[in-house]
């Protein structure tokens, strides 16, 4: 990795021959089933950082099944017939009995059966679950990796993608492949309904009892009225309560195939040797169908400002967003530069104005690609007022700074500073092992190949002050704006 960063830095400073050298370090293989495999040798320590990323996320969910991608992410940790079952034939039958008991119960509820009948079927459902649990080891995948010294075993689901991460001592490569090939072939969604309860707790924790999570949900719902970016990624409470194992398995089966995934290995690898092992295991997974045409509706252009308030038991906070295009549209890169100009570092415009000069905000931050990047997304600005200043004060100050961006070209020094920062941010991402694995997976899956990572700097370096001014004028308009405000419940602010 360290070698990587050195080379990438030179790429930034001296494009040409050295970029070629780095590209030559990365090995890319495509298996017959369509799985793309990237390997990046780094001998600093005898470890490998793995990232397995699928082009599946919240946008792929059917209406009413909100959050099912996230639920399936949880379920993929539950094991397979050979990982986690004490007796597969019996467990399989027991899991089918759970599904049947759940279906019986659902039917009774739908048919408005008597309370006694519903109670009886609920008891039967719970008994079936207990029977199935007796035949399984609950967390066998985690156990295998824990035993072998894992670090950072985790997964995450976004609107656009899902990734599974773990770092292991490098001689455990075959264990990793044995486990994940099996998961992709034979995932068993055991303890499904217990896990749905866990996800409900996760929803309470992240989206209901956290003021930032609650405000973000309101904001997205207001900004995206048609496109799935407006739905809560974790699902609504009702949707989570409505999850059924067969529907979840159907979603898994529709989407999670090798031809829709990238596997990245960063660390102590020898590509020509290790690809043999990768082929043996991951190559055994059959190719699946291509991504179905989901007819995801485009968000129509916004015609007027939208505002929403959330009354909440917390101090006030402000979230402003503007619709904008995504990559590879050149304006998406321009908006990345504007992101740095506004909030990156202590000399950035909004930090200096709101936090230091006016002492009106505790903090201010922005993002140029929220909440996803695969479809047209938003530029967002978030700020917390310092009492007695209000969110209205912050709005006024922020709009003044956005007007300045529209009216005056950015000076050459500031532009150079922002380019340096973009470069530094780039290096930070590429320094860490797991971060590098994730970034490469991302570029390979969505940006037309990992090589794209070497081309972006050239794009940023050619963006002019005039383009920045034009983009600010194009997107920072009142009618393109959504404003969500957290108002203290029962408070005067």
């Amino acid at each position: 990795m360290k070698r990587m960063v050195w080379l990438i830095l030179l790429v930034l400073l001296l494009p040409g021959a050295l970029a070629q050298q780095l590209r030559e370090q990365i090995r890319k293989y495509t298996l017959d089933n369509g799985l793309r495999v990237l390997m990046v040798p780094d001998k600093t320590a005898p470890v490998i950082h793995f990232n397995l990323m699928f082009d599946v996320g919240g946008v792929d969910e059917a209406p009413g099944l909100g959050g099912i991608a996230h639920m399936v992410e949880h379920m993929a940790f539950k094991g397979t017939p050979s990982i986690g079952s004490l007796d597969w034939a019996r467990e399989k039958a027991a899991l089918e009995a759970v599904d049947k008991a759940r279906a019986d119960l659902d039917r009774a509820i739908a048919n408005r059966a008597s309370q006694e009948e519903v109670q009886r079927l609920t008891t039967a459902f719970n008994q079936a679950r207990e029977e199935a649990k007796k035949l399984a080891l609950p967390n066998a995948i985690d156990q295998l990796f824990t035993n072998n010294g894992e670090q950072g075993l985790n997964a995450s689901t976004g609107y656009d993608r899902t990734d599974y991460r773990v770092s292991l001592p490098s001689n455990r490569l075959e264990l990793y492949l044995r486990v994940y090939a099996d998961v992709m072939l034979n995932a068993v969604f055991r303890s499904f309904y217990e896990e749905a309860d866990v996800v409900l707790e996760e929803r309470r924790q992240r989206s209901e009892n956290d003021p930032n999570g609650a405000l973000s949900e309101v904001f997205l719902r207001t900004a995206f009225q048609v496109h799935p970016y407006g739905r809560p990624l974790i699902g609504s409470r009702e949707e989570i309560q409505g999850y059924r194992a067969d529907k979840a398995m159907e979603f898994w089966k529709t989407h999670y195939h090798p031809n829709r995934a990238v596997l990245v290995l960063v660390g102590d690898v020898e590509p020509e040797r290790d690809i043999q092992l990768v082929r043996r295991y991951m190559g055994a997974i059959p190719r699946g169908p291509a991504r179905p045409n989901l007819n995801i509706p485009a968000e129509p252009p916004q015609a007027a400002e939208r505002r929403a308030t959330l009354e909440y038991n917390a101090q006030p906070s402000l979230l402003i967003g503007f619709h904008k295009p995504t990559y590879p549209n050149r304006d998406a890169y321009v908006m990345d530069m504007i992101d740095s100009i506004l909030t990156e570092g202590r000399t950035s415009r909004l930090f200096r104005r709101l936090v230091i000069q006016e002492q009106a905000a505790l903090n201010v931050s922005s993002s140029s690609a929220s909440p996803g990047f695969r479809y047209p997304n938003m530029f967002t600005i978030s700020a917390q007022p310092r009492a007695p200043r209000t969110t209205a004060d912050l709005e006024r100050l922020i709009y003044e700074e956005l007007e300045r961006l529209k009216n005056e070209p950015v000076g050459p020094q500031e532009l150079q500073k922002v380019r340096n920062q973009t470069r530094a941010a780039y290096l930070r991402v590429l320094q860490g092992g797991p971060g590098l694995a994730q970034t490469l997976a991302f570029y390979e899956l969505f940006f037309g190949g990992y090589q794209r990572i070497f081309e972006e700097e050239a794009i940023y370096n050619t963006i002019t002050a005039e383009e920045i001014q034009q983009a600010a004028r194009r997107y920072f308009t009142p009618q393109n704006r959504t404003v969500a405000t957290l108002v203290t419940r029962g408070g005067s602010r």
């Binding site: 830095l9 597969w88 985690d142 075959e174 866990v198 002492q359 009492a387």
Partner: protein, 466 residues
């Protein structure tokens, strides 16, 4: 749908019983050697002013990173000025230094895409830099100015105090934040680690206080610098001599404090929320005392990850939490604590508390299985290679070990004890150090929705939110 799926898999894998080719190994039987990391040994040197320097050359990258540690920990703040160390570290970095104004420092560093940062925790204040090696002299000079000649500009003190007061105003917004604060406060009661800032304590902080804190602790002869990257060791030492000339030796005496003496109770904070945040535990031993390694190991059985007792009982089996776990904290200078935590739906609050307490009790009453012990022992031993993925992290770890006066083979001793631990050892330390009947329990939640009054579980003290 499900039947069809099973059938498809059956065909694709030629009807194998468990869906994988017959020549694939059983993953539970796969054997691997424990990898030995190649240790990184920094060069050790001393500057003429007494500063200890640990250096690791690494010429593969055009970067240099450094961090100097001082024993200016938050626990040494004056008792009536809690919050001082936070203001101190912010303004040390942002309040100008040497000949430079606050803005000049920010502008120079940002133009060079370099960074200098100041951080304070309970034990240390550290001042770090990160730069391209071609800008080393310039960045080293700014870092040295911030370290030795901070200006503490009054307007930046006012700014950071105002932000700290706003943070206090906001610190009851999130139930988890309230619970963590109350738990750390209650379990460290009687020790400075249990103090929390207040509007009055922050308002009372003056520039003189910051200058005095700096003069009291920032002496080269009691500091250790870890520096790694693209340099020649002898040249680096000469550069450091130049940059740090004028930094005078001095005597630093660290006060000692009595250990925490918490009052066992259920501390309850009323908050309108649909989940309760629950923390429970008691202080145990320092990280270098007999029993620590075994407590660390048994705390993993209790609360480290998917296969721990808390995770299995609270989350996997019952779906009563997304976040649940526990650990033995590392105590340096005063005992760490052994604890568990869950965030669970409010109408199951008492049930979850009882399930959690039962896990602690069980580890006292019955030895863990050999298999369970091996799982967590193997995790510690096999993960050792990850301690050596960054040269800077290794050098910083050695610096902290020295500053705390720990033996150089502190970690090796720990590993030997982990290797030797038996189920009986784990049960012994549980019985000796972990006493559920004397726990500090903190609950943040909405009492109107509890399944049982918390007073039925023990002595209840209600903590009002300011």
């Amino acid at each position: 749908m499900k039947a069809l799926w099973s059938l498809l898999i059956g065909l694709l894998t030629l009807g194998l019983a468990q869906g994988v080719p017959a020549d694939w190994p059983d993953p539970f039987k796969m054997q691997f050697q424990r990898l030995q990391p190649s240790a990184i040994q920094p060069t050790r040197a001393q500057l003429s002013n007494g500063l200890t320097v640990l250096l690791v050359e690494d010429r593969t990258l055009p970067f240099v990173n450094g961090r100097v540690y001082l024993r200016a920990g938050a626990i040494f703040e004056p008792e009536d000025k809690v919050g001082l160390s936070g203001i101190f570290s912010s303004v040390m970095r942002t309040g100008g230094a040497g000949e430079r104004t606050p803005d000049q420092i920010d502008e120079t560093l940002e133009a060079l895409a370099a960074s200098v940062s100041v951080n304070t925790d309970n034990l240390f204040t550290s001042v770090a830099f990160s730069t391209l090696s071609e800008n080393l002299d310039q960045v080293l000079q700014i870092w040295a100015d911030i370290l030795v000649r901070p200006r503490f500009a009054q307007e930046r003190i006012d700014l950071e105090k105002g932000r700290a007061l706003e943070a206090i105003r906001r610190r009851n917004d999130q139930p988890t934040q309230i619970a963590v604060r109350e738990f750390v406060r209650r379990i460290n009661e009687g020790h400075p680690a249990g103090r929390i800032s207040s509007v009055a304590s922050v308002q009372s902080i003056t520039r003189d206080d910051l200058v005095a804190f700096h003069q009291r602790f920032f002496k080269p002869n009691v500091a250790v610098l870890a520096v790694t990257g693209d340099f020649n060791t002898q040249e680096m030492l000469a550069r450091l001599e130049r940059a740090l000339q004028g930094w005078q030796r001095g005597e630093v005496t660290l006060p000692s404090f009595p250990p925490p003496s918490p009052k066992p109770s259920i501390y309850f904070v009323q908050k309108e929320t649909n989940q309760s945040v629950i923390y429970m535990g008691n202080p145990t031993v320092t990280a270098y005392a007999p029993g620590y390694s075994e407590l660390d190991l048994v705390s993993r059985v209790l609360g480290d990850g998917f296969n721990s007792r808390l995770f299995t009982e609270v989350r996997t089996k019952r779906g009563l939490a997304y976040a649940t776990g526990g650990a033995q904290t590392q105590g340096f200078g005063w005992p760490g604590f052994f604890y568990g935590a869950s965030i669970s739906r409010v109408e199951k609050t008492a049930e979850v508390i009882e399930i959690m307490l039962a896990q602690f009790r069980d580890l006292r009453e019955r030895p863990v299985s050999q298999e369970e012990l091996e799982l967590f022992r193997n995790n510690i031993l096999n993960a050792e290679v990850f301690r050596f993925t960054s040269r800077q992290a290794v050098a910083e770890r050695i610096a902290r070990t020295q500053m705390l006066g720990l033996p150089a083979d502190y970690y090796e001793q720990y590993v030997r004890q982990i290797q030797a631990a038996t189920p009986a050892d784990l049960q012994r330390v549980m019985q000796q150090y972990v006493r559920p009947e004397q726990f500090v329990i903190v609950v943040v939640g909405d009492r109107r929705q509890f399944d049982k009054p918390l007073s039925s579980l023990g002595n209840l003290i209600e903590v009002p939110l300011e």
